[in-house]
Amino acid sequence: MTTRPYVGDTDCPHGGNLASVACLLYLAPDSAYITETKFSQYTMTMPDYLVDAGNHILQGLWTYSGSPCTSFVEQVYVYGLDYHRYYEYALVRRYETPPPGQPSYQHYPDGVTSNSGEYVMFQTEYTSDTTWRMWRGASLRAQFSGGGLGYGSCIAQAGLEVSRYGSGVQSGYVSYTMNHDTYWYDQNRQGKGGWAQGTERRYQQYPCYLGQVPPNCLNGQWNSGVQWSANKP
């Protein structure tokens, strides 16, 4: 018995953790070949006892692919991952049907970093012939092929995720990292602009709407057609 990645929203799939993410939806199947987000790495915190208990806070990019659209690759800037009390990057792959003999889930720590405000770009690129690349700025962080994913992306997400927040734990969380500049490119590598433009883009997921306050939501809004802002003061 497995938990499907649809928990939280049937349109913009997400796990059980509270999130405030921009969502690039209603794409023709697997039509986005490059999805990316850019943001500045500022402070994110959670209490040590929660880190020790296996919780995390992160800002990241998720790129879904396949049919059904449930396999994904993920690149994150995270605090608290695997009990680590420091900031780091990580890469994730999750296959609905993995290539023969391969794991369903893979995750690689991708270097320790800081909260000094460095501007970073996460990018997922589908090249061709089932080959995928994950970039951080101009640095290639991973390349893989062999199936298990689709041909391009059907859904993309970017924003803030926190674990356990709202489930009896409401303080000690902060994310001053917030503004994501989101872009995507089609099969011809033509830039299609920010995710909030056009009919196929939408935002979600638990942003605080008028009259709502945390912990049952996180801050989230479009600053423009390009920029999704997700934070927790």
Binding site: A53, H56, V92, P103, Q106, S139, A142, S145
Partner: protein, 155 residues
Amino acid sequence: MRTPRQRLIGFVASVVAGIFAVSVGVLVASTLVDEPAALGAPAAAPPITRQQVIAATKGRQTIATRIDRIEAKLTTWMEFQIARGVTDEFIAAMQPDREIWLVAVSGEFRPQLARGEVFRWGIVAYDANTGADAFTFAGHESWPDMFARVRDRGK
């Protein structure tokens, strides 16, 4: 009856074929000799021990939430990739000769970035020199076949 020209051509062809055969033989022999030597070279004991990585994995109680079986093997990233049949993959953080401990567990495995998904097995890899996390794998079979194919450098 072969003409002198045909005999000359035959001789040259024989010499070329002979050189080719010897070259291939040397190549094959060197491969056969080199490969076991490279794979079989006794590894110096790394600073991080088998007992330490098994204890560290058992301590991840929110990830390895139930452990029915646990084993550790010492290997390198390249040997592990070959064992699992992956030859065309690039991971920037993983150098081919990086020595790693693989700790495989079966039971219930819940990696933090899997969106709550529960797996039947997991592999947690640690850098054998520093103890730093190297990667985490998980799957839905009863036990990872790829782990069974890894030769343990630590024995």
